[in-house]
């Protein structure tokens, strides 16, 4: 079943990672930016699982790490969304470009 070589998976994850980064850089909508960050985190998850499965099957560190990442990501999202809502309350918008009062 391991006919898919590791490199392919790594390609996928890396691609995913940079797609996420691209999204973060380009999207103006905070929610979308948050989603792209999730994308990056998931690519990391893929990395971990893949490494664990292909290279170091003897123990499950990678898998555990993935699980923790997922949980943390959830927490992060929760706080982030709370903040975004609050931002919307004060700025009447969730466009990142509108929240640039603090600068220089």
């Amino acid at each position: 079943m391991s006919d898919v070589p590791l490199s392919h998976i790594l390609f996928v994850s890396t691609a995913l990672f940079f797609i996420g980064m691209y999204g973060l850089f380009t999207r103006r909508n905070l929610i979308t930016m948050l989603m792209s960050i999730e994308l990056m985190l998931n690519s990391v998850n893929i990395n971990f699982v893949a490494f664990n499965k292909y290279l170091f099957p003897q123990n499950l560190e990678g898998i555990f790490f993935t699980i923790f990442i997922i949980t943390i990501a959830a927490a992060e999202a929760a706080i982030a969304i709370a903040i975004i809502i609050n931002l919307y309350r004060s700025h009447q918008s969730i466009d990142v470009e509108d929240a640039t009062e603090l600068k220089f």
């Binding site: 850089f25 640039t100 220089f104």
Partner: protein, 641 residues
């Protein structure tokens, strides 16, 4: 070895007076301060006379030669083991002679001032300064160490500065005092560098040792100094010339003479003391002090000779055209000092050739008396007329007989009419010049004639010419008359002192023979000049004006002192200040300081420039973040290897 330590008293007396009067004079004894000063100086005068007698007639001589005695010596500041400033007292013919002159004249001036300066606001200060001057002058003449000479040299300069600027509310006085100080300071620079040279090559600052080393032709110091050179002139010549420049500054030799006439802004007694009898001859004294060394270097002596002769002539010419009596006297002083200088210049060391040296010292001695007498007389006149200008005077002989007689004697003395003091000394000088250098002799002769002329011009226009207009208020108190009388007596008498057997270059008695044939020429010329003067000025008339008009341009030039002052003004005001000072100030303000400010502003600029980094857009932050990583990655994975 005879003991002369008590000579220390002589300078210390005035010093003590200075300190006392300087600190407490103004407050506590405003009016007695004069008496205090005079009394204390009287003591030092007596002591110095004692010293003189002891030296010259009791135990100064050892088998026919007057010894150089170091009466006292204390290491004051040690630069390096053998080079140090010692405060010492040297006792030898010239120092003792000067001791007498300075204390005596100073005493006369002190006494005269009692009357002359009466009721002055800063009476105490005046006497404090006088004492300071006397102290420094005495220190100067007693110095056994060339650096000690320099120290007192400066002190003399500053006390003259203080006294010239005594009437500090008169701008002209302030200007004159500044001029005097700065010009002499400039000369002292030469002196200082000369000292540095002598000290370095001689390996000592002690005059005695210095002379010893530099007069022995085979001594390492001498050879080194003669060999070493700069701009093709030997170090010895440099050193001596520089030292002479210092002396020229103090003694108002051309071209450093410009301060002397202005210095007449000071109180007249001060002029009598400082700018006639004592300080101005310090230059001559300095050269005499180092004469053995000068003797080793013909070039330096040449410089001395010609500077002296030229100054003598120039001053005499200018003196004929001045109308301010004190300025006339000032120029005559300059001319007489010129005499002394070239007398030294034409002299040699020791024996018969040492005549010039002896003559110069002799003239210094006599000149001190009659010149101070002239000044004090002028002071008395001014005290009466309240003006310095001849035009306001005339016919004073009836109002002030004593002064008149004294002044006449002085004039005769300075003109060199026998048997007055000036005659003898001048005679010796002419003789010395005649034997060594005919050109100089000619100049001297002509100058002698001029001297007689302008002195009697002065005399007649003060005491004769038109009828006096001023209403008399008495000739002044005894304190003013007494010094005149005493000095007049001296002016008559001192010529008869057997000077040549006392003060000579090598301390050995010198046989001088007076031959009438030689005296004919100078005396004759002098008499002619005198008669001319009386013819022109005895009665008020327009002949002088005609005469002046007849050689007009020259007269104008002489009247304007040959524009030397203007040259100096041009150099300072037009060159030093605008072409050196201002540019430097500008550079400091705009370049050096500007650079510092530039650094600051550059920093500020940069910080304003890069503020765009902090754009406030979180996405840019993320972008920079990642580019940072990328840069590091590229650097370390690909480039670092």
């Amino acid at each position: 070895m005879p003991n002369y330590a008590y000579i220390l008293l002589i300078p210390l007396q005035p010093l003590a007076t200075f300190i006392v009067l300087g600190l407490f004079g103004r407050k506590y004894f405003k009016t007695f301060s004069g008496t205090i000063g005079t009394v204390s100086l009287l003591i030092s005068t007596i002591v110095s006379f004692v010293a003189a007698i002891q030296y010259f007639f009791v135990d100064g001589k050892v088998n026919g030669i007057y010894q150089k005695i170091i009466a006292f010596k204390y290491t004051w500041l040690e630069f390096s083991p053998n080079v140090s400033i010692d405060m010492g007292i040297i006792v030898d013919p010239i120092s003792v002679m000067m001791l007498v002159v300075v204390t005596f004249v100073s005493l006369m001036v002190h006494v005269f001032s009692l009357g002359y300066m009466k009721g002055e606001d800063r009476f105490a200060t005046y006497y404090a300064f006088l004492s300071l001057f006397t102290f420094s002058m005495l220190g100067l003449i007693l110095s056994s160490n060339i650096f000690q000479v320099y120290i007192f040299w400066e002190l003399v300069g500053v006390s003259s500065f203080l006294l010239i600027g005594y009437y500090f509310e008169k701008p002209s006085a302030v200007a004159a005092s500044k001029k005097a100080f700065i010009v002499t300071r400039f000369a002292d620079l030469g002196f200082l560098i000369g000292i540095l040279l002598l000290g370095f090559y001689g390996g000592t600052l002690d005059i005695g040792i210095l002379i010893e080393r530099l007069t022995a032709v085979q001594s390492p110091e001498y050879t080194a100094m003669a060999a070493a050179g700069f701009l093709g002139v030997s170090a010895l010549t440099w050193a001596l010339t520089l030292v002479f420049i210092g002396g020229a500054g103090k003694s108002a030799m051309f071209p450093l003479h410009i301060w002397l006439p202005d210095a007449m802004e000071g109180p007249t007694p001060v002029s009598a003391l400082i700018h006639a009898a004592t300080m101005v001859v310090a230059g001559v004294y300095l050269v005499a002090r180092l004469f053995p060394v000068f003797n080793m270097d013909a070039a330096a002596l040449q410089v001395v000779t010609y500077t002296g002769a030229f100054s003598a002539l120039l001053a005499a010419v200018i003196a004929c055209t001045q109308t301010d009596i004190k300025r006339v006297l000032a120029y005559s002083t300059m001319s007489q000092i010129g005499y002394m200088m070239f007398a030294l210049g034409v002299s040699k060391y020791g024996g018969e050739d040492g005549l010039g040296y002896m003559a110069s010292m002799f003239h210094l001695f006599t000149h001190a008396f009659f010149k101070s007498l002239l000044f004090l007389g002028a002071g008395a006149v001014i005290h009466m007329v309240h003006s310095n200008d001849m035009k306001d005077m005339g016919g004073l002989r009836k109002l002030m007989p004593v002064t008149h007689i004294a002044f006449l004697i002085a004039c005769l003395a300075i003109a060199g009419i026998p048997p007055f003091a000036g005659f003898f000394s001048k005679e010796e000088i002419l003789l010395a010049a005649f034997h060594s250098n005919k050109l100089i002799y000619g100049v001297a002769l002509f100058t002698a004639a001029l001297t007689a002329f302008y002195m009697f011009r002065l005399y007649f226009s003060i005491f004769w010419s038109k009828e006096s207009t001023v209403q008399s208020h008495g000739e002044g108190p005894l304190s003013m008359k007494l010094p005149l009388v005493i000095l007049a007596a001296c002016a008559v008498g001192v010529g008869f002192i057997p000077f040549s057997s006392l003060v000579t270059s090598d301390g050995e008695a010198l046989e001088t023979h007076m031959d009438i044939t030689f005296s004919i020429a100078p005396v004759g010329l002098t008499l002619i000049a005198t008669l001319l003067a009386s013819y022109l000025y005895k009665k008020e008339n327009d002949k002088p004006a005609k005469l002046a008009a007849s050689f007009d341009g020259f007269y104008q030039a002489a009247h304007k002192k040959f524009y030397v002052d203007e040259v100096y003004l041009f150099i300072t005001k037009k060159i030093v200040f605008p072409l050196v000072g201002q540019p430097i100030a500008w550079v400091d303000k705009y370049i050096v300081d500007g650079f510092m400010n530039l650094l600051a502003s550059i920093t500020a600029k940069i910080s304003a420039l890069i503020k765009g980094l902090q754009s406030g857009k979180v996405q840019n932050y993320a972008l920079y973040f990642f580019s940072g990583i990328a840069a590091l990655a590229v650097l370390f994975i690909y480039l670092w290897k």
